[in-house]
């Protein structure tokens, strides 16, 4: 796995973690879709993710720079034993919950990894 991941790669991995379902992407819909996921066609979904990202950065203001987020996520995913990026993302979320490394967004308890991935959407254009 390469050391530095791009925002686009990470955003696609975001579509595979738990919040995707809560934001209207059903698991069945995601199956087989992720490799060709067109983020530009997912305006409402990205809009909601931006809300989550803002909520996360309120709890972790020192991660406001995208470069910091990309670094932290790349380091984290590289250290995990999983295979694909999607698998590593899910694994990271699971470990966050296990360690109690969570934050609250509008009452929802979400993992730090989900928060960081959501924060990456803030610089992604909504079509």
């Amino acid at each position: 796995m390469k050391k530095r991941l791009s925002r686009r790669e990470l955003l696609i991995s975001l579509a595979t973690v738990g919040t995707a379902t809560g934001l209207g992407l059903s698991c069945r819909w995601l199956e087989g879709t992720v490799p060709t996921l067109d983020l530009h066609s997912m305006g409402p979904w990205l809009g909601h993710m931006k809300h989550l990202g803002e909520a996360y950065l309120e709890t972790s203001p020192n991660e406001r720079q995208e470069a910091v987020l990309l670094y932290l996520l790349s380091e984290r995913f590289a250290a995990l034993p999983g295979g694909t990026l999607a698998e590593r993302a899910r694994q990271s979320v699971r470990f966050d919950f296990e360690a109690g490394d969570t934050f609250e967004a509008h009452g929802w308890v979400l993992s730090r990894t989900e928060g960081r991935l959501a924060a990456l959407t803030l610089n992604h254009p909504v079509p």
Binding site: S26, R28, T102, W108, S111
Partner: protein, 533 residues
């Protein structure tokens, strides 16, 4: 209604106390006061046993306004829901089972233990002592055997175990009596036909008379009308009138000495109820198979007559409760119809929009009934995905039932309920909800929303009392710490017993009826073994 003469065995009728002569005296071997789940069950255990049993019911066979008015009193507490003094009880044959929902579950083993982090916790008996009686109770209310009883984790509908294989949260089951057993309807005929059981209707017990300077109850003073009373003399008495009326009767008796059984000022204290936090949060699933396993709405429950499997409830394991000093609790992922509209066509199961609709801000935080999480069932019904939370109450000495100066039409002092909670309960609710949220996320089974914005403390806005009146004559080995002993006999009195949730020293999170029945069956065995025929 025809009056059955005392001692006559051939007629199958109930006794209308209003037709008894004023100031007359009736006699029995065993006098049971209160014909709800406990009283009726106890009386049934004595049919054909060779003792004369008198079962006294304050009301008649249906709800009557003047009897219902006797329930009035004052209630004070962090909130006052719809289940206050008058709506939470029924003063007629069958008692509160005339309106219960039929939800049943044994207490967990840890609920009986003395837990150092919960002051005044600990029963003088353990769960193993009650287990055979729980199984007999299940027959009475027509629920299945508890396959998972004492088997934390055996009923895992999905694997919540962590990498070490040690689950922190386990699914259990809240069973449902289906349809809810109405004890008055279900067992009236049996008691009418029992030659050795006299059922007195409109028999309102005013007080119990103690033998002068003695440790025995001699008689109950009973009123069928504000101006007509009679005396019921018996060898033994059992109070089964519920968690509010049992302390009321005891405190109204022996008034000069502060009430019967009250030499340590404990009658009426330690009042507890389960608090249901109805919409404490929302949930969505990350797994489509989860939908087939979720709690089902009552409307989709089992056909009537089929033994009710009930629905799934998640609880923290006993280990986690010990390690993190938590109160016991149950969390139900519940779906209920959100509105009376349907989505057209036969949409396949569920798209879940909860997080999105919460984030768009349009339906967030407008009060208890505003639920942002919705799904669509296979039949097109719009459903709310809400989290129901059932919380254990801790025993608090200053949470209590007292007498008011105001008297009812029968001249008895009405009650005031001063219900208290504590910061420890609030903290435990919060910690438990966070635990559930983390475990569901870790297992990648979904996400929980554990409160609305500004949600704290939980009791002030979100809660509702479950009408499970517990603790007011608590059980203890030491008379200085409770009102009844391990056999439910009132400390210091030889022949007065209690069959009620009022004896619970702690109440777990489970609905109490099954435990009331188990304790009643155990008391029946005790009375029969030690009986004076």
């Amino acid at each position: 209604m025809r009056l059955r003469e005392f001692g006559a065995c051939e007629s199958a009728v109930l006794i209308d106390s209003r037709e008894l002569p004023h100031n007359c005296t009736r006699e029995a071997d065993l006098c049971i006061i209160g014909a709800g789940a406990a009283g009726i069950t106890l009386a049934r255990q004595f049919t054909g046993f060779g003792l004369r049993v008198a079962l006294l019911e304050s009301g008649g066979l249906e709800r009557e306004p003047d009897r219902h008015d006797l329930l009035r009193g004052q209630f004070e507490g962090p909130f006052r829901g719809p289940n206050d003094l008058t709506n939470s009880r029924c003063r007629y044959f069958g008692g509160t089972t005339n309106r219960w929902w039929g939800t049943c579950r044994p207490l967990d083993a840890i609920d009986f233990e003395e837990r150092p982090w919960i002051a005044d916790s600990g029963w003088p008996i353990g769960s193993a002592e009650l287990e055979p009686f729980y199984r007999r109770s299940a027959e009475i209310v027509n629920i299945p055997e508890f396959e998972e009883y004492e088997g934390d984790g055996q009923l895992l509908a999905f694997n919540l175990a962590n990498r070490q294989g040690r689950p922190r949260v386990v699914p259990k089951r809240l069973y449902r009596s289906n349809p809810p057993t109405r004890f008055g309807e279900a067992y009236r005929r049996e008691l009418e036909d029992a030659p050795d059981v006299d059922v007195y209707l409109w028999a309102n017990v005013l007080d119990l008379g103690r033998k002068v300077d003695g440790e025995r109850i001699e008689s109950a003073r009973v009123a069928s009308h504000p101006t007509r009373t009679f005396s019921l003399r018996a060898k033994r008495f059992v109070l089964s009138a519920g968690g509010f009326d049992i302390p009321r009767i005891l405190l109204n008796s022996d008034l000069d000495r502060g009430g019967l059984g009250n030499h340590n000022d404990l009658v009426g204290r330690y009042y507890m109820d389960h608090t249901r936090l109805l919409v404490v949060g929302n949930w969505f699933s990350t797994d489509t198979s989860f939908g087939t396993r979720r709690a089902r709405h009552r409307a989709e429950a089992e056909p009537p007559g089929q033994r009710g499997q009930g629905y799934q409830v998640f609880t923290p394991t006993a280990r986690v409760q010990r390690e993190e000093h938590l109160l016991n609790c149950g969390l139900v992922l519940h779906q209920r119809p959100a509105r009376h509209t349907k989505i057209s066509g036969s949409e396949p199961y569920v798209e879940s929009y909860g997080l999105a609709s919460a984030l768009d801000g349009t339906r967030l935080g407008h009060g208890r009934l505003q639920v942002p999480q919705v799904s669509v069932s296979a039949s097109g019904m719009v459903l709310d995905n809400v989290v129901k939370f059932y919380n254990e109450h801790i025993p608090l000495r200053h949470s209590r039932v007292q007498l008011l100066p105001e008297r009812d039409p029968f001249g008895q002092r009405r009650i005031k309920v001063d219900w208290r909670t504590s910061d420890q309960m609030d903290r435990s609710v919060r910690t438990n909800l966070e635990l559930f949220a983390r475990e569901f996320g870790r297992a990648n089974r979904g996400r929980l929303r554990i409160g609305f914005r500004g949600w704290s403390p939980p009791y002030s806005e979100q809660g509702r009392l479950a009408s499970h009146h517990m603790g007011t004559t608590r059980m203890s080995r030491d008379p200085r710490q409770g009102v009844v002993d391990a056999n439910c006999k009132v400390h210091g009195l030889e022949n007065l017993f209690v069959a009620s949730s009022s004896v619970f020293p702690t109440g777990g999170f489970a609905n109490p009826t099954l435990t009331i029945l188990a304790l009643t069956l155990r008391l029946a065995d005790h009375l029969q073994k030690t009986g004076e025929s």
